[in-house]
């Protein structure tokens, strides 16, 4: 699956519009993921996952920052996320199925806060982008 020039433009536009809210969106994405897909909580036994958790917010910021980094280096996501890819392969080993769940929740957050931004075409591009990020992060698993 390859990101077209249009996809890249759409993704950059989304992150441009989201701007400073990205960190907040990251936190909300995680909150939604933990609520809708409780099995994802198994990766965070060391976290307080209660409502308003500072740890979840902080981790959401990290996740958002990685997505922003990928969007800003969309011509070479693998390069941009290489260290994160190593981390996920060697240490975190999050089962690949979970990246789709995170992606779904991120799309829901964008839809909730910016319905006008998420046109069907932009939705398609963003979905592809999130898939690409997941693929990069699991690329070195085996």
């Amino acid at each position: 699956m390859v990101l077209s020039a249009n996809d890249k433009t759409n993704v950059k536009a989304v992150f441009g519009k989201i701007g400073g809210h990205a960190e907040e969106y990251g936190g909300e994405t995680l909150e939604r993921m933990f609520a809708a897909y409780p099995q994802t909580k198994t990766y965070f036994p060391h976290f307080d996952l209660g409502k308003g958790s500072a740890q979840v917010k902080a981790h959401g910021k990290k996740v958002a920052a990685a997505l922003v980094e990928a969007a800003n280096n969309i011509d070479d996501i693998a390069g941009a996320l290489s260290k994160l890819s190593d981390l996920h392969a060697q240490k975190l080993r999050v089962d690949p199925v979970n990246f789709k769940l995170l992606g779904q929740c991120f799309l829901v957050v964008v839809a909730c806060h910016n319905p006008a931004l998420l046109t069907p075409e932009v939705h398609a591009s963003l979905d592809k982008f999130l898939c690409a990020v997941g693929t990069v992060l699991t690329a070195k698993y085996r």
Partner: protein, 147 residues
């Protein structure tokens, strides 16, 4: 039988009560065909699906989207017997329509995103959770009679 908490039932009903089935159904199906273009394989007789604009404006897509979401309403009305509600439809999708059940999961996820875009902040995490569960149960019920 799937267990629904009182809160889940309330969250599902309260959203469903405000859904414009025709609009949401059309939008969900159109998005499915746009975001996951391989799903167009089931609709070769729908005419022009050559671009997002064509898909969104296609009257067959709109009509079929409405039909699909109307059927979804049956699940909402029969939360305690979704399996039974979709038994015949499951057979149909297997024997006549030959639809890979993965497509039900794709459509379910898209429906959740459409609801999120319509309801904004009202589509809380708890709300999303109830609806993700519902679309998952519906997908499972539609796949249940496959052989």
């Amino acid at each position: 039988m799937v267990h629904w908490s009182a809160e889940e039932k309330q969250l599902i009903a309260s959203i469903w009560g405000k859904v414009n089935v025709e609009e949401c159904g059309a939008e969900a199906l159109a998005r499915l065909l746009i975001v996951y273009p391989w799903t167009q394989r089931f609709f070769s007789n729908f005419g022009n699906l050559s671009s997002p604009t064509a898909i969104i404006g296609n009257p067959k897509v709109r009509a079929h989207g409405k039909k699909v979401l109307t059927s979804f309403g049956e699940a909402v009305k029969n939360l305690d017997n979704i399996k039974g509600t979709y038994s015949k439809l499951s057979e149909l999708h297997c024997e006549k329509l030959h639809v890979d059940p993965e497509n039900f999961r794709l459509l379910g996820d898209i429906l959740v995103i459409v609801l999120a875009s319509h309801f904004g902040r009202d589509f809380t995490p708890a709300c999303q959770s109830a609806w993700q569960k519902l679309v998952s149960v519906v997908a499972h019920a539609l796949a249940r009679k496959y052989h």
